[in-house]
Every structure is written in C-alpha cells, then in structure tokens.
C-alpha cells in the first residue's frame, strides 16, 4: 500500500497538468508547427523555400506595413501606459464618489463588444459624423480626419487599452503601503519624490507586464484596422486576412503569421524576464 501511495504522489501532479498540456499541444503547438512548415514551402511545388519570408522583408509595400503596424502598436503601448498610470494614480489616492464612478467607467469598456465600440466610435469621429454635425450647427466646418489614419486607429486602441492598463497598474499600486508614503511625507518628501522613490520602484515591473499585454493584443488586431484603417499602409492583421482569404496564398499567410508570432514573442520575452527577476527592494 505504501508503495502505491508514493506512486500516486509522484504521478498525480503530472496527471493534473495533462489536460491543459494536451490542450496547449493541440491548439497552440500543433498550429504553430504546421504554420512554420507551411511558411517554408513553395506555393506551387511545395519544396523548401525562404521566398515567403524574403517577400515580406524586401517588398517595399510590406516593409511599410510592418513599420506601420509597429508604429501603431508601440504608440498605443506608450500612451495607454501613460494615461492608464495617471488614471490608476487618481483612483488609488482619491476615495470619493467621483473616483468610484471613474472605477465603474473604467471597467465598462471590457464589457462592450469590440465591433460595437468601433462602429460607435466611427459614428462620432468620422468626417460628417457627430462631431462634424455639432460643429456645423455652431456655424463652422470641422472634419476630424481620424478615419483611415493612424491617429484614428491609435485613438480607438487607447479607448480599449487605457482602462485595461489602468486596472493592471492599479493592482500593483495597491502594494504601495500607505505607511511608507506617510513616513516619507513626515520627513519632508514632496509629491515628486514620493512618486520617484516609492511608487515607481514598487510598480515598474507591472509597467512591463501591462505593456507586453497591450502590445500583443494590438500588433495583430484586425477589427479596428479593417473598419477604420486606410488602404496603404495597412496593419499586418488586415494583410494576413487578405493573403489568406482573398489571394488564397496560404504559404505567405503562414509566413506572415510566423512573423507576427515572433513580434509577439518579443513582448512575451520581456514579460518572462521581468517576472523572473528577483525583487530587490521592498
């Protein structure tokens, strides 16, 4: 009996991991491997080739698309973190009716379907939309020119991501002990010093984590750029859709998927490194 108990102890953990492991194997590892395989084959002959990658890294149009995608994603990350942090600070250090309402509003976007949000946004900001009509009724012409431009895309991305970043940052702000702040204040620290010496050192890790998530969800986004983006350059999500659905070029689509996957892995690496670093100070 003793022996079988040992066996159980030894194998039980693996058994618990097994379902999740198989799911990952089936839904993530298998598609990644087949995509990788597909991306290295010629469309017609199915022989090994690097042409599919070569195309995306030499074709001027595709290079512009890659650059444009990175630009939109990075700008979204930077601005979402900046505004999200400001929002989180406000919520953390103010406890009144208004700040509670703000918390409720912050959670709201997570419950609105993306498509609905993008369409409502388009209705408001498009040329000839709500803003233009309000301006017209006040007697002047105003066109936001946000449709079909990077600015518009970034703006909608921010709408989705500021609350998300704020929620993540808020969690780490909860770790900042009120006592630490108060003692710092007692010995004469001003607000900036508190921010730089106490709050930022406690929360900087969460910045990288929130940034990694925001980057990943935006670099391959489709709905917003498809509905609001221009014709040239385009974000990679739309390019991928076209390669796959319109041109039926599965090999190029696979190559682009791998490129997107690698871009996402960059932020995943940041995430892992930050997570593994030992806490130096607390």
């Amino acid at each position: 009996m003793k022996k079988s108990d040992d066996l159980k102890k030894k194998w039980a953990p693996y058994l618990y991991v097994l379902p999740a492991f198989f799911l990952i194997l089936l839904l993530i590892v298998y598609p990644v491997v087949t995509s990788l395989n597909l991306s290295l084959r010629d469309k017609v002959t199915s022989h090994f080739t690097l042409d599919n990658y070569h195309y995306f890294f030499t074709d001027q149009v595709q290079l512009n698309n890659i650059g444009y995608t990175l630009f939109v994603a990075v700008m979204t990350v930077v601005l979402a973190l900046l505004f999200g942090f400001m929002l989180a600070l406000y919520i953390r250090f103010n406890n009144n009716g208004l700040s509670k309402t703000v918390v409720a509003l912050t959670i709201l976007p997570q419950f609105i379907p993306g498509l609905v949000a993008v369409y409502s946004m388009m209705l408001v900001v498009r040329n000839g939309g709500v803003l233009s009509r309000i301006a017209q009724s006040l007697g002047f012409t105003f066109n936001p020119n946000l449709m079909y431009s990077a600015n518009g895309l970034i703006m909608v991305n921010l709408w989705f991501n500021i609350p998300f970043a704020a929620l993540l940052l808020l969690a780490s702000l909860a770790n900042v002990r009120q006592a630490s702040i108060e003692s710092a204040r007692d010995i004469g620290a001003d607000k900036w010093t508190v921010l730089l010496k106490i709050i930022l050192p406690t929360t900087y890790k969460q910045f990288f984590i929130a940034g990694a998530f925001v980057f990943m969800s935006n670099v391959g986004s489709f709905t917003t750029p498809f509905l609001m983006g221009g014709n040239n350059p385009q974000m990679l999500g739309v390019v991928l859709y076209k390669e796959f659905n319109q041109y039926l070029d599965y090999n190029k689509a696979a190559a682009l998927s791998v490129i997107l996957f690698l871009l996402c892995s960059l932020s995943a690496i940041v995430y892992v490194i930050v997570n593994m670093r030992k806490e130096k100070w607390r």
Partner: protein, 392 residues
C-alpha cells in the same frame, strides 16, 4: 492503483456515452426518413447567404405550404447563414455525392450561375438533374437568361450593382460609363468605390472598367489570355485615383459595400457603385437619405442571378419542380421583391409591391454577368498592387 481503476472506468463511461449518442443520432434520422413515406411528401430546400435571404426564403416556404400545392408536398427550409460556415452547402453536397449517397434530402438548393461552375467542377456534371419543363408551367414567364447551366438552373431573382447618387446634389446623373468617368474627374472627391476584395460593388466597378475595353465574350471566359489586356482599364482607374474621395488629404477606398454607403449617407460623397437590393433596403429602413436614387449606366455594372437547381442525389424531384413552379408565380415574386428588394424575373407589370418604385428600369432580362473564375481574384490582386498600394 485505485486511481487507475477509476480512470479506466471513467474512460469506459465516456466511450459508452459517445456510442449511445451516436446511436440515438442515427435512429433520429431513420425516423425522419420513414415519416416521408406517408401521403404528403417532404421537400427540403437548402439555402445559404445573409439574413435577408433567410427572411425571404422563410416567407416563400410558408407561402408554398399554404398554397394548394402545399397539400401534396411539405416544404422545409435548411438555412446556412454565411460567415458561420459559408462554403458549407457546396462542401456538404459535393461530399455527399462523392461518398455515393443516394436519396438524400438535398432535394433542391439555391445557387447562382457562377456557383454552378464550381459545383460541376468539383462534383462532376452529374451532380445536378435537369428539370422537366412540362412540370413547370410558369417557366414561360421567366424572362431571365442565364450564362451557365441551361436546363438545370431556374433563375428566380436578380440583383445587380447600380450607381447610387444623391439627387439633391447631382441633377443629371451619368448615363454611360464614359459620362461617369468624366463626371468623376469634374467632381473631385465626390466619388468612392469600396476595395474590390471587400465587397461586390467595388469589384463590379473594377471589373466593368477593365472589361469595357475587351470583347463581350471575355467577361464569361476564364482564359488567362485576357489578363494581358487589362492594362487599359487599370490605367483608366489609375488616372481616376486622385479624383476619388479623400480624408485628411489622402485618397481612400473604404472597406466593404457598407463603407461607401456610409460615406453617401453622411454626404461625404455624391455617387457610389452599390448593390441595388442593399441600397433599396437602406432606403426603406431610412439609413440612406430619401434623396438617394439609383440608376444603371451603359454598359451596365455586373450583377447576379440566383437560381434553384435539383441535385441528382435528392429524393423528391416532383416536389422540387412544384417549388420551382411556385417561385416563378406572381405571389412568390412579390414576396421576393417585398422582403429582399430582388429584381423579379417575371414581367414587372405583375408586381404590386411598394418596392417596385426602386427597381423600375432594372430588368433581369438585360443583366450583365461575369464568370471569369480565377481571373477575378487575379484582377483584384493587380488592383491592390497597382492602385490600392499607391499609384506611382
């Protein structure tokens, strides 16, 4: 050890459950088959498409079942909403045919004449059965002519791309394609067409601009030699590029048919190529201003004829023909115009629907069809690289 016992027991349980589920499934289908052997026989119509097709077809089905013919045959609708498993009807039918199934409930399906080519290419010519003319007395009223599948396809409704314009701003809409191109140049920023890959209206604009320079037969040919003659049309579109709608100083080709329609609704542009049925539905729903009107230019934009066809693996040919006959009748045609703003295939004098005022002057008789197979995709790719990605 106990644990493993339990695990095997659980696995056996799951297997048993799956087995039972499989059994119950097959018994349900055999029940269905046996009930069709009673006096009134079943006809199943398979259809796919958007919600408007589903609405229209559901009304047709209940009207048929309420008609005298409905006493002999009971019509059922199996609908596959597009986007969920769009190519699925075709896949299912071809698969059933290849698996050698017979006497299935694929009694009647909806297909356009361009679908017909794909069906016969995949499933062989024997995938469909010819209809019996003598069983379909209303066939003589069918004014539509199809480009493929004669004797198999019964065209029952049409839809085409037209020019939609704001009559408050455009007093004299163009009548020919030449006039249209001149109008675009004379009114910079007031015309837009959607990216051809994202919607049929833009695709029709591209296709007609290119194929107007080619002989008539090219539009129904998939011979790649015609691709060498696209340059003239493409350079015409390039020359129009800078006169298209601009946002923030940049030329824009919106995505989807709805994209250009939104621009028209907001007064950003004055004229667009658009689907006639989609425009009509938008007008009746009030999402387009009442001043928007439709017109067809000459040579026309391309359109589509939707048809009924009998798969050879169906089990109720007589019933299917009764449905074909019914759909060409006055009542069914009025339902189609009402619910889908379809262009009727019978004489428009027979139509009493309110929607008639929107489709006046559009006849299924003089539709312009295209069936260029793989070339259509290649043309779009060419447009993408030469026009969408920046005119040099």
């Amino acid at each position: 050890m106990k644990f493993w016992k339990r695990a095997t027991a659980a696995a056996a349980g799951i297997l048993l459950f799956v087995g039972l589920a499989g059994c119950s499934n097959s018994s349900a289908s055999s029940k269905k088959a046996s009930s069709s052997s009673v006096k009134q026989t079943n006809v199943t119509l398979w259809a796919g498409g958007s919600q408007n097709v589903k609405d229209g077809m559901s009304k047709i089905v209940s009207a048929f079942n309420a008609s005298p013919e409905g006493k002999k045959y009971h019509l059922n609708l199996e609908f596959i909403l597009s986007g969920t498993s769009a190519a699925s009807l075709q896949d299912r039918l071809v698969a059933a045919k290849k698996a050698g199934q017979k006497k299935t409930n694929y009694d009647l399906i909806l297909a356009s004449d361009s679908d017909y080519a794909a069906y016969t290419q995949l499933g062989g010519k024997g995938i469909f059965e010819k209809y019996d003319k003598s069983q379909i007395s209303n066939l003589k009223n069918d004014k539509a002519t199809i480009s493929a599948g004669k004797g198999y396809l019964v065209p029952y409704r049409g839809t085409t791309v037209v020019l939609a314009y704001d009559s408050a701003k455009v007093k004299n809409p163009p009548k020919t394609s030449k006039e249209l191109y001149t109008w675009i140049k004379a009114n910079p920023g007031k015309f837009a067409y959607n990216t051809p890959e994202s919607g049929g209206a833009g695709a029709a604009f591209l296709q007609t601009a290119v194929y107007n320079y080619l002989p008539k037969s090219a539009l129904t040919s998939s011979d790649s030699k015609w691709a060498n003659q696209w340059d003239k049309g493409l350079s015409l579109l390039k020359s129009l590029n800078s006169y298209m709608y601009k946002s923030g100083g940049k030329v824009v080709y919106p995505n989807k048919n709805q994209g250009t329609m939104d621009l028209l609704a907001n007064g950003q542009v004055e004229m667009i190529p658009a689907w006639q049925d989609m425009t009509t539905m938008a007008l009746t729903a009030g999402t387009l201003p009442k001043t928007v009107k439709m017109t067809q230019i000459s040579p026309a934009f391309t359109g589509n004829l939707d048809s009924l066809v009998i798969p050879s693996i169906g089990s109720n040919k007589k019933g299917a023909e009764a449905v074909m006959n019914f759909i060409l009748g006055k009542k069914a045609q009025n339902i189609l115009v009402d619910t889908m703003a379809a262009i009727p295939v019978i004489d428009q004098k027979e139509i009493t629907s309110d929607n008639l005022k929107y489709i006046k002057g559009l006849n299924a008789k003089d539709f312009r069809f295209s069936s260029t197979g793989d070339l259509a995709t290649q043309l779009i790719q060419k447009w993408d690289s030469e026009i969408e990605n920046g005119v040099k």
